[in-house]
Amino acid sequence: MSLTILAIDDSRTIREMLNAALSAAGFSVHLAVDGEDGLDKLSQTAPDVVITDINMPRLDGFGFIEGARARDESRAVPILVLTTESAADLKARARDAGATGWIVKPFDEMRLISAIHRVAGMRAAG
């Protein structure tokens, strides 16, 4: 069973990387370009796991997580924060907003997939 993943990042490079890595690992991948787009795609794609960047135009990662958590259908979906910052206060803010876990950029495929497993379970094995 392939899990559906929604990846949100304003950087096209990172989006393509996520798409390549996750698709290769057997996930079904959807992409969004910022928090607003992410919230739109959230309803359309019903992802099993969401991966989101923090710094984005229009609606940032914190705003996205809060928006997602306020919705019934996504209140318990695991959301991984993808960020270049490993700073403790950003992690704390993300967690306060409702983030499930985090991946620090630059990420490698193993780490990315292991983080997905850690929030979605081993059934996520692609």
Partner: protein, 742 residues
Amino acid sequence: MSGAPDIRTTFFQECDELLEALNDGLASVQEQVAGGPSDPEALHAIFRAVHSIKGGAGAFGLNALVRFAHAFETVLDLLRSGKIPATEDLVALLFRAGDMLTDHVTAAREGRENAGDPAVAALMAELAAVSGAPEAPAAAEDEGGEEDFGFVPMTLPFELEGPGAQRFHIAFAASRRLYANGHDPLILFEALSAIGTLEVAVSAARLPDLTTLDPEEGYLDWALTLETEQDRGAIEEVFEFVEGLAEIEIRCEDEDPPAGAEGIDAGPQIAPAPRDPATVAEGSADATPPPPAPARVAPDAPPVAPTAASAAPPASQSAPGAAQGASSAPPASATIRVDLERVDGLINAVGELVIHQAMIAQKLAEAGVAWNSDIGAGFDAFRNLTSEIQERVMAIRAQPIKPLFQRMARIVREAAAVSGKTAQLRTEGEATEVDKTVIERLAEPLTHILRNAVDHGLETSEKRVAAGKPASGVISLSATYRSGRVVIEVADDGAGINREKVRAIAIEKGLIDPAAELSEAEVDRLLFMPGFSTATEVSDLSGRGVGMDVVKRTIQAIGGRISINSTPGRGTVISISLPLTLAVLDGILIEVCGETMVVPITAVVETLRPGPKDIHAIGPDQRVVTVRDTVVPVVDLGQVFGLPGTCSQDILLLVETESRNRYALAVDAIKDQSQVVIKGLEGNYRHVAGISAATILGDGRIALIIDPEEAVAQAAPVSPVAAAVAASAPPSSQPAALTPAR
């Protein structure tokens, strides 16, 4: 992750866009500092741009780029959070940092790293000084500098060798926030069972009465026993994401239980009890997931809501969305990237289409098909569609001139810094679209013109103030559409051309006769003469061995024209007029000795039909023509190209060469003026002197496009000086000017 080549391409394309956004943002911040309207979004956009470049660079292991972007970003972060004030000096620093970032990206694109450059270290030190951060240690120049940026070193999740099997007792009490953040205890237990043999016991002791149960609260406590060869770190890693969201107590059996280890309500009952009836699952290294814990353990309790809610939706539900959403493009600007070769192929095909359409038109006319007949009307619609397709295809290659203008902003900044002047670049018409090839070939001449404008055009601040001008010079760079062409103007508000000095230099270099009478415009045009500027008399800045004559030649090579207009004390304007595309050309169809040829309309100054009195023969087969008291050599095109047949040569096309010399091309007739599709000769045949390319006419015949410059050089029968001398009175009394006398 190692990024595949196509992602690398994406990264650099994205860098270009981000650098553009960065420069836009900086320009906006600069305006704000100068008292313009406040725009907080500008600073955020700058930050995001640098941040995204850093993020992508990190993924490709471009460490020098990451380090620099990080230092840059730190300053931007302080600025946007208001911890440091935006000053003119700081904005100047940010601009320089933006330029340096551009250099880093360029270096990375070319497979180099900019690390060793002392200028980089110097600028990083400046940035560090502003942000108050300790200067990056020299060691950071090594590849191992990542920890400076707080990146978590990548580690394999599992260690290959453990300390031998150990038993850990883990007490785990979920909080409400654990579920609210999308965690599922079951998944954590799975992860634990993957690193050893896990036994799980659950206590529902805290579970309240059903009537008071809050389905979102965490009431269950677990006691886990894990036998594993991994160390404590592996267990802690499993709980990394839930730290702070649950009470977790990890105790190794070999260690003494810490005081208060049973800090969980249900602790005593559920503590180490391996084969207790409450044991719900025996996890082991095989990946069989244990059955849902709460349901089995406490059959009388309702399923815990959040756990159930996090179950994955059926795959079929998400499948339809996958097809359309997987590669969705940004909603803001829907674009696709296409290989340039494909576009060129399309343009060529459309060129053929236009030619064949012209052929059909001719055949229809020959066949006497009436234009109001069905065929005629149908063809008319076809022709309209063809020209629409042609326009649209050309538009694909057209790009806004903005990126080029942005590069020029940097040129002006650097030129001002080197020459010790203050200068500002104002741009206008950045959205003007020009053929990509034209933009590419415009960069070099435009760079030179702008350097010149700063170096020679603008005065020093002191002189400007003394002349009652603002201390900072302004250079305006604009692009507009004008009668089917793009006109790019570079205007400075400097002192204007010092014509006496220009004249003196020209005399000194032997370009003009000391006694020559030159109009102001003629003096200005001396700047474009080969040999006028040399490396010895211009400063380091503008003189890079390239003179304005090269600028002019480059512009002409892309079908452009350049002119200069200067007002003393007010400044100088240089105008470049360019064709919208290099694929078609406006030409005059001429007939020479029975051959149809094309002369680019840009080269032609005027056409004339001289009377017999205007033509003078000098020598056996060389002639000159008098045009408004100026003597111009006549070039016999039939002779230049060795065409047989009779040539009446009734009409003269007055053309001007790059050295402003004029020649009259003798032709038999002017047949038409039309746009022709340019077909390169070199690719199919070879270069022919005097011919720049070929085209296919409506009747299917091939016509050669004349390069007037080369054609004249081929003939070179008489120099204008000799012509003037021959046609004038004794030379001693009336020396001729080298430049045309108009």
